[in-house]
């Protein structure tokens, strides 16, 4: 028996969340850990899955798999599960991961748990803990089917970094023409930016920033910290910032080590997207802003004065 891990890459490297999934699979201790990468990637980059515990990487690199076609990817993952006799499929929860895992669950007749935050309890059955109610609670579920799919929440499980690069073998998948009913006609993606859902530090701005022309203040702070930038819903609704930066109940759910909220009031729907951050810093001119109740550290004051000072202090620390 084996554990298959579907891994995703960004800018030529395996995503941290995918390495967390590989680490999780290794910690399961339920047989050989095999990573599966689909689409274009360098072998030397994929081999690094070994560092997090994979014994080998399968690489499906058919020309038709260059774009992340949900249906074709699901077929490849299900085929690899079958060929490798995998009992468990592990993957990082993501835009593509969710879309693929749900189809694989039906193809492979597997039980699926999404937003998993801990290793399972094998003492009686196969019990996993997963986040529900947008971070406000957890549920322990017993997975009943023979095969299981676990989609792991980001930054929730430890990263293993003490292994060695492993072999990368080509995976010849069957091309199923029907899967290409889905056509990808264009991709627009920010280059060279830290991806918000993957970021270890997030600097986020709300309506208190007054307008898009002021965002450079937050971008400077983000740059000094190696952070991604996020925003509240009204900010993306007003198109001050792109939609993929919108954090909260109806946007991206982040779980970084540090979330710095600037000029965000802390409405419950915003908090729902940030409540699994390890450390929350709030900067707001209103001492009564509800965000302070959820924060670890707070500063009351004008963002336009405080943020540049903070950026300078971080730069001084890094110097």
């Amino acid at each position: 028996m084996s554990v298959l891990v579907f891994i995703e890459s960004s800018e030529g490297e395996i995503r941290k969340s995918s390495l967390e999934a590989v680490s999780y699979a290794a910690a399961l201790d339920r047989g050989e850990v095999i990573a599966l990468a689909i689409g274009e990637a360098e072998e030397s980059a994929l081999a690094k899955a070994g560092i997090s515990g994979a014994s080998r990487v399968l690489h499906a690199k058919d020309e038709q798999l260059k774009e992340d076609n949900i249906m074709a990817y699901a077929s490849v993952v299900a085929e690899a599960m079958e060929k490798e006799n995998a009992e468990i499929l592990v993957l990082a929860k993501s835009s593509l991961g969710d879309a693929v895992a749900s189809r694989v669950a039906i193809k492979s007749n597997a039980a699926l748990a999404s937003n998993v935050v801990e290793l399972p309890d094998f003492s009686a059955g196969f019990k996993v803990k997963r986040g529900i109610y947008t971070g406000k609670a957890f549920v322990n579920v017993d997975l009943k089917a023979e095969k299981k799919i676990l989609a792991i929440k980001k930054n929730a499980v430890p990263l293993k970094e003490d292994g060695a690069p492993c072999a990368v073998d080509a995976f010849a998948s069957t091309v199923n023409e029907a899967d290409f009913a889905l056509k990808i006609t264009g991709v627009e993606k920010a280059e060279g930016e830290i991806l918000l859902p993957e970021a270890e530090i997030v600097v986020s701005g709300g309506r208190g920033m007054k307008g898009p022309e002021n965002w450079h203040i937050l971008e400077d702070l983000a740059k000094s910290l190696g952070a991604a930038t996020g925003c509240s819903k009204p900010v993306s609704d007003m198109e001050w910032r792109p939609h993929h930066e919108h954090v909260g109940q109806t946007g991206i759910k982040v779980s970084p080590n540090l979330y710095i909220a600037v000029g965000i009031s802390g409405a419950i729907q915003h908090l729902a997207g940030v409540n699994s951050s390890k450390c929350l810093v709030v900067i707001n001119k209103d001492p009564e802003a509800p965000f302070f109740k959820a924060a670890d550290y707070g500063i009351v004051g004008d963002a336009f004065e405080i943020v540049p000072k903070l950026t300078a202090a971080i730069k001084a620390l890094n110097a």
């Binding site: 017993d142 889905l182 006609t185 264009g186 991709v187 500063i299 405080i306």
Partner: protein, 245 residues
Amino acid sequence: MKILVCISHVPDTTSKIAFTDNNTKFDTSGVQFVIGPYDDYALARAVELKASHGASVTVLNVGEASTEPTIRKALAIGADEAIRVNAFPSDSHFVASQIAEVAKQGSYDLILMGRESIDFNGGMVHGMVAEMLGMPSVSPVMRLDIEGDLAKMSREIEGGHEEVEVKLPFVAGCQEPIAEWKIPNMRGIMSARTKPLNVLEPVEVGEFSVVENYELPPAKGEVRMVDADNVEELVRLLKEEAKVL
């Protein structure tokens, strides 16, 4: 064009989450239930397509009788008829199986729902339904236009978006800014009372997962305030106490 919109019946986003019966049941006392916010986007887009393309809109909820006020609200927003599959939505496999069954009977051109429900946040039902029906699935969809039998969509990916085209029929998991949430008007509310709401019994589904119990996260500690004139102190705390720098 026939559109099926699948809606979840979930606690309002401001609800306090608590459990009873030794942490085995969700505590519904004082909780207001609403159409899932993502499903509400799907419904809003369906109602727009109804106006622009002359579509018919059926809403579907898998739930017990207590969900009917939520279903009536969807009718008030502009759906033409409703179906309730009379069962507790125990897990995504179960819900997807019920939706797929209804979809098979109704031969819909478009099956829309939210990218995820805000109670169990699985985000898996759309893909499962599509796979069961042998249809394409696209999620999370931020823009959806129909031109003849072709759908043009924009799908959110980490750090950007992807343009996708697919022929009808297919399944889409929706999110903003696909449409603006719609508030029912008086005429909508009146007419919703007499629109058909058919109750179907569920099909049998094998057991894939069983809830053992629920947990709440540990309580948060007190916030530590730092003086606005002393940001260096914040940096020190983040480095030495929180150890996040």
